[in-house]
């Protein structure tokens, strides 16, 4: 592999006003979802062992094959070492010093419907603005002609509380349920596709997930069906000292379409918590999947105390001809983000797109990007990455574009822009490019700039305060990516950009 490594560090102009940096810094810490739900939980014993793997499998009433699958992953994981190549620094994680399974006591007997779920849990989602009643819609859609329905799977610590609009979706033939339920209700589909995109041997964190995943979402869109509404999963970590390991599997059968949204938050705690998820997407001939994430895990405080360690493997396999996938991610949270949503462009004429906004403020560290693996003929990929660093944060774009010898006449376009706020943060761009056929083209553009004092002064001279000015300028910087999000998410993301930058700089 030709690893072309460039590191861009922008010179910081003298004009940055020290005082404003400090003032704004002092206003930090406005994470909106840092509260906790007081609720009785049942935990599996602390630490990780074969027994814990068996226990999780048993809790979900899984068939033998899945337990064996988990155990094989666990045994393999024991022999693996944690990857340390990313540009993130953290003390060793003690895998025996945390819980792998935490379930609200009120969920001991699975409620038949969401109506029967513990009101405290329902209130949690209400407070987060996530509608768990089917007549409720995502709030705050200003100017929307007709509010759109969004089906939600609500995952709380290790379990799914329930899924909305199941009946309505079933009428269209769409399966949308928790993965634990899918294992029981749709074993053939799960067995056929689980691990087929991200094999249990893939990498340290994916292998760990394969051994201990507790819940997550499952989606199947039958041939020719355009999913009648947006699907979403909302992940909430609540329990202390507990890892969340969810697994999402989406299968878009021939000529189908689905748009899927993922959101996540966690309480403020001064200890770190591990989140190691796997998302697999299978896309057959002529099908299309849009996967949008607004990642808002607790980022830790200004000193870097607490926050989620987010080690996630997401991959889409365009298995069929003309299959299409679009990843959009807005990464604002987590103390550490290690995440590379990827596209395997296997089918001829298949297409992959990756749009990313990654914001790292205070002591946050983000190492994120994508892999575009072109295997089929005339495959196309597009990468637009907008990294914003503030405070002492380090933000790395790491991306692979690979053109296989058979992937003739393929194209990639990569645009990778970094914006620095203040003079103590860093932005890095690490593109790996390998082209092994003569007819394919790869284009890569990268820029690094600083938030411009003249722009901020111009905004302020029109009456905006400094934070509003920074938010406006940054929202301008990320506009191309915001536009790829569904409307509800775009607005949430826009305000999140502003919130994440509170405590940054002028």
């Amino acid at each position: 592999m030709t690893a072309l490594e460039t590191e861009l560090r922008a010179d910081v102009r003298d004009g940055v006003d020290r005082e404003t940096i400090d003032t704004v810094q002092a206003m930090s810490g406005s994470y909106k979802h840092g509260w906790e739900t007081e609720i009785e939980m049942d935990y599996a014993p602390k630490g990780l062992s074969e027994d814990i793997v068996r226990l999780i499998s048993g809790k979900n009433n899984e068939p033998e094959w899945l337990l064996d699958w988990r155990l094989a992953a666990y045994r393999r994981w024991l022999k693996m070492t944690e990857p340390r190549w990313a540009m993130v620094h953290y003390p060793d994680i003690d895998y025996q010093d945390q819980y792998y399974y935490a379930k609200p006591r009120s969920m001991a007997v699975k409620p038949k419907s969401l109506d029967e779920v513990d009101p405290k849990l329902l209130a949690t989602y209400e407070k987060l603005g996530i509608p768990l009643k089917e007549q409720m819609l995502l709030a705050g859609v200003e100017g929307a002609a007709e509010p759109r329905k969004v089906a939600v799977d609500a995952v709380f610590d290790s379990v799914s509380l329930g899924t909305t609009f199941k009946a309505e979706l079933a009428k269209a033939g769409v399966i949308f349920c928790s993965i634990s339920e899918a294992v029981r209700e749709h074993p053939d589909l799960v067995q056929k596709y689980l691990g087929s995109v991200v094999p249990p041997t893939d990498n340290f964190f994916a292998t760990l997930n394969s051994a201990v995943f507790s819940d997550g979402s499952f989606v199947y869109i039958p041939p020719g069906v355009r999913c009648p509404m947006e699907l979403s999963t909302y992940f909430r970590i609540n329990a202390e000292n507990t890892g969340q390991f969810e697994r999402t599997l989406i299968v878009a059968d021939r000529a189908s379409y689905v748009s899927y949204l993922e959101g996540c938050t966690a309480p403020k705690r001064d200890t770190h918590q591990l989140h190691a998820a796997v998302v697999e997407i299978v896309i057959l001939d002529d099908a299309e999947v849009k996967y949008s994430t607004v990642q808002n895990w607790y980022p830790g405080d200004e000193e870097g105390r607490g926050g989620i360690y987010n080690f996630v493997t997401k991959r889409a396999d365009c298995r069929g001809d003309r299959a299409k996938v679009m990843w959009t991610q807005v990464e604002t949270g987590s103390a550490i983000t290690w995440k590379y949503p990827s596209c395997i462009l296997r089918g001829d004429d298949s297409q992959g797109e990756f749009y990313s906004i990654a914001i790292a403020n205070n002591a946050q560290q983000a190492d994120t990007g994508t892999k575009m693996v072109h295997l089929g003929k005339r495959t196309k990929s597009r990468i637009v990455s907008k990294g914003i660093s503030a405070g002492r944060a380090q933000n790395t774009y790491r991306g692979l574009v690979s053109m296989h010898p058979k992937a003739t006449d393929s194209r990639n376009y990569t645009q990778c822009d970094s914006l620095l706020i203040g003079d103590r943060c860093g932005a890095h761009t690490v593109p790996y490019i390998e082209v092994r056929n003569a007819s394919s083209r790869v284009e890569h553009e990268a820029t690094t700039s600083k938030v411009d004092d003249d722009q901020l002064f111009y905004c302020r001279s029109r009456g905006m305060d400094e934070e509003a000015a920074v938010a406006l300028v940054v929202n301008g910087f990320v506009k191309d990516v915001l536009q790829t999000l569904p409307m509800e998410f775009a607005m949430e993301a826009q305000s999140l950009v502003a919130i994440s930058l509170e405590g940054s700089v002028g």
């Binding site: 003298d14 004009g15 006003d17 200003e142 100017g143 411009d452 004092d453 003249d454 722009q455 002064f457 111009y458 905004c459 302020r460 001279s461 029109r462 009456g463 905006m464 305060d465 400094e466 509003a468 406006l472 300028v473 929202n475 301008g476 910087f477 990320v478 506009k479 191309d480």
Partner: protein
């Protein structure tokens, strides 16, 4: 309205004095023009009044209706009614012109304890004012000043002024880069805003603008000071003879 007294300002970075004891009083309802050679400190004066970083006020004062401008943050000066039409308007990629305007209008309303303007009302007002300046809908959607021609940028400044309805308007060479027709549009825009409660400080190099916007008072600025003050005729004199005589006289 605006009262500047013995203002001394130097560049922070270079310890270089630019304004050297400038005094100026602009009363409500009046239009003052400032002319003066390149580099005499006209833009510096306007930046210092608007609150840009990088300048150190070493002496003197600047008051807006009795409030100490120099103690205020730039956004507070704006909400207090001060507006500067920039000599070089700044580009903000990705931020729609309309979004920018609306954010600014609502920020000022909020600072003054007023309700935000509704989207519908805002749209109506902005369309009307844009039409008067021949700014089309397309330009309102484009990112702020990005790819605007020199003249379009200046007209956009006047649109902002019309939307924000400030009481003290400073125009820094708004006429440079304008074609004859645009000059007329901009002047009409300014004249439409003239009223008893509002004052203008118009920085210009040319009599042409002052044919349209008739000033009450004309100041000549040189080397960081006002060296001569007179009526509209003073501008004509500069136009005919340049600055040499006036400067010689002032020394």
């Amino acid at each position: 309205m605006l009262e500047i007294n013995n203002l001394h300002v130097k560049l922070e970075a270079e310890d270089k004095p630019i304004l050297k004891g400038l005094s100026l009083t602009v009363g409500a309802g009046s239009v003052h023009a400032i002319m003066g050679p390149n580099g005499s400190g006209k833009s510096t004066l306007s930046y210092v009044l608007a609150g840009r970083d990088g300048y150190a006020v070493t002496d003197g004062s600047a008051m807006l209706d009795g409030a100490d401008l120099l103690e205020m943050e730039p956004e507070d000066r704006a909400s207090a009614g001060l507006f500067l039409a920039f000599q070089y308007p700044v580009e903000i990629p990705g931020v729609g012109n309309m979004t920018f305007l609306r954010t600014a209008v609502n920020a000022q309303r909020k600072a003054r304890g007023q309700d935000e303007m509704s989207a519908g009302e805002f749209l109506k007002v902005v369309r009307e004012k844009a039409r008067a300046l021949k700014i089309d809908a397309e330009m309102l959607k484009r990112p702020v000043n990005v790819g605007f021609s020199g003249g379009e940028k200046k007209r956009n400044e006047i649109l902002q002024m019309a939307m924000l309805e400030p009481k003290m308007c400073i125009l820094d060479e708004t006429d440079s880069g304008l074609d004859v027709d645009a000059m007329k549009l901009v002047s009409d825009g300014v004249n439409a805003l003239r009223d008893a409660g509002r004052a203008f400080l118009v920085i210009t190099h040319y009599q042409r603008l002052l044919d349209h916007i008739r000033p009450d008072v004309v100041h000549i600025m040189a080397d960081g000071r006002i060296v001569k003050t007179g009526g509209p005729d003073l501008a004509l004199e500069v136009e005919r003879n340049g600055y040499a005589d006036i400067l010689a006289e002032a020394v």
